[in-house]
Amino acid sequence: MEEKNLTEKASLELISQMITNSRRKLEDGNGIPFLIWGYATFFVSLMVYFFINATGDYHYHFLWFLIPVIGSIGMTVSKRNKTKHAGHALNFIERVIGNIWMVIGIASFIASVGAFLVRYPVLPLMLLLMGIGTALTGLTIKFKPVIISGFIGMASCVLPFIIDGNGQILVFGVIYLMMMVVPGHILNYKGRKKYV
């Protein structure tokens, strides 16, 4: 493309072409955040479960705070790699999804810190919050596997109440695997399939 004048017809064609090129399907690359947070939570759950079971020391619950650390590093690296070659454009839906997760993230952090000050069952609350975020994301991008995973996550928030002891930490990790990792891989697969 250069700095040259166009005919009226060519102008309209150019506008249409640029708008079409900029409008991409929302599943493209959207699986990465689900995979980063899903795997981070799953592996931290395994660590917490293992250390508490092995030592009986409940101070290992502080390991939960590794999740925001791993997640933030993963998101920064992913964003840097993604924008390095193809650049980045933010559309309205991406901004909405970003805001949904910002609110869910802040609520989760407050709930986690609160659980160290006042004793309450934080794992079901986390599942409910993440389920809400996942379902809202799925509804926004109109992608069924993400919507279903979100509602499964919300419904499964009762499971930690049913299971006694440290087993609920393991169940929490497995639910995360189903709620975030599975739809994350499906989203990425759909995105890749488009370019084959």
Binding site: M1, E3, E8, S11, L14, M18, I19, T83, A89, F92
Partner: protein, 97 residues
Amino acid sequence: MFKELNPLLHSELRLGIMSILISVEEADFVYIREKTGATAGNISVQIEKLSEAGYIEISKGFLGKRTRTVCKITEKGVTAFEEYVEALKSYLDIKSR
């Protein structure tokens, strides 16, 4: 009656940049370069012209160690773009009669 075509928008690269920015909330320099296929130097000159006209806002930041230039269309830019499309329609309507 022909409406006058805005000369600032009636250029291939500037119109391409404005068409990208009208369809997203903001786009960085690399994205615009990828979509238009133009050289970095040419894009810099054109976004500067669009910015001077008040059609776009340019903000510079950092992503890691790299500088990142982000462009965003303004209200004035949206109005100018809409008027340009209306003017184009008037040309095409009259020619197709």
